[in-house]
Subunit: 288 residues, 2 copies
């Protein structure tokens, strides 16, 4: 047992899978659920993700509170929770951006900011909701924590232990570095996939294009099946790093454009070869 | 039996899978293989993709000849074959672009251009070579044929019958329309994936980015594992349509960039939602 009571604010795929894994590992006794959607809370209870539905006051009395919701809602939720937090309660989150979550927590939590451990599990799926939660979602996955100078080391240790009990491998990063890395390897690819599909979808003759799209298109655009709300929030929350990555990507595409326009086969071959080699090297080092 | 003898110029994944499927269907008796790589021809023979290795003169005596190689090699290969073609022999190809292949065939084949049926099977994989060939590669897949006004209808009928025997569904398109469609749904996504991976690979601190790349990145960049030679040839062969698609994509990314820069959450939400809906609709209509 790592904590007696866990409260989930948001009982979808991310929060629900965390609770399932911790229950299975015997790392938590009771799981409370807070959310706006009664049907979703019902499903979470029926599937055993949570033991019961709670209000803000009750959730504040939990030993650990996980926020698993679009990052744009962080500050409002923490404002609700702040008056009810019991002494020693640890708060963490699962948001895909960290600098803005840190700023929101600093503003909402006051003195209790020391008990807030910013986190980001590198796992997910286009599926969402409590129906998609599963105990093995975090098995072998990375979780990044970005504790601040004020963060109590005991709070970080508790959150680390919980993620490890859920099967994940925990790494610490600076929040700004986290945001720059994920702008490049996650946020930009999502925008690039959304842009490509939307560009086709808006054409009068879009059907003939989609008709001949095949497995390469399917995989390239898989992430364009992700939640629009979640990705709007991420794009706004990580605006600065994302703009830098968008500019780098636009430059890279312009280099390719010039090579195609100038029929520079050697330049194209060099870029394609370097990309393939880098990806092959990466695939060998990964279990994704 | 549709044809007695089939000759493959190129005995890799695409040609080898065609031969395996036709043998299995009893649609062809003998398969000859022409290629530059002796090790690859050995593997093709050992795996039963071809019955024996042939030279240009012998290949020209086959009833049907399939070119399955990078599109940039089409004209040189047809120049080799042209003097040896027996009367009535049908020639077809499996290239990813069609207007340039049609031009190459028109130039190399003279009178015999009427026996050339341009084709493009919509199947493949990052795997390549004779070791990757399999009899079911084309099962349920689309094959586009782009016969010209000169093309003999009997030649088109033979090639159609062969692809159908291999399990594919044949569709006819205008060659220019083919190239515009595949510039959008295949060629551009490949360039976009190559550009993204290369942009990361060229950074001094690329390792820290790749370290945190996950399953979304893996799928988005899967096609960046494709053959640099093949994709260089395709980019050059379909230059005009590809430039138009690159420009449309750069515009779409600039629209997103402005929305991020201007913190226009509604615009982002609208684009992401439209893209997701279009992709979900497409996935329901497809078996890819």
């Amino acid at each position: 047992m790592i904590v007696d009571t866990l409260a989930l604010v948001g009982t979808g795929l991310i929060g629900g899978s965390f609770a399932l894994a911790l229950k299975q590992a015997g790392a938590v006794r009771t799981v409370l659920g807070v959310g706006r959607n009664p049907a979703s809370l019902d499903t979470a209870r029926e599937r055993g993700l949570i033991d019961r539905v709670a209000d803000w006051a009750e959730a504040g009395q939990a030993d650990c509170i996980l926020l698993a919701l679009p990052v744009g809602e962080t500050e409002a939720v923490l404002n609700q929770l702040a008056p009810h937090l019991k002494p020693g309660a640890v708060i963490t989150d699962a948001g895909s951006t960290k600098a803005n979550v840190v700023a929101a927590a600093r503003s909402a939590l006051g003195d209790r900011f020391a008990d807030f451990v910013p986190g980001h599990p590198i796992a997910g799926s286009e599926q969402s909701g409590p129906g998609a939660a599963r105990a093995d979602l975090y098995q072998g996955r990375r979780v990044v924590l970005t504790p601040q100078s004020e963060t109590r080391s005991e709070a970080t240790a508790t959150v680390r232990a919980l993620w490890e009990a859920a099967g994940a491998q925990v790494e610490l990063l600076d929040a700004g570095q986290h945001d720059r890395i994920f702008a490049a390897v996650s946020h930009l690819p999502h925008l690039a996939a959304f842009a490509l599909v939307d560009d086709l979808a808006r054409r009068a003759d879009s059907e003939v294009f989609f008709r001949f799209a095949a497995s390469g298109f399917r995989d390239f655009t898989r992430i364009a099946g992700s939640s629009p709300e979640m990705w709007r929030d991420i794009a706004l929350a990580n605006r600065e790093a994302l703009l830098a990555e968008l500019d780098a990507y636009l430059d890279a595409l312009q280099v390719l454009r010039r090579a195609v326009d100038g029929e520079d086969g050697d330049a194209l071959h060099e870029i394609f070869s370097r990309a393939r080699a880098a990806r092959e090297h990466w695939m060998k080092t990964q279990d994704v």
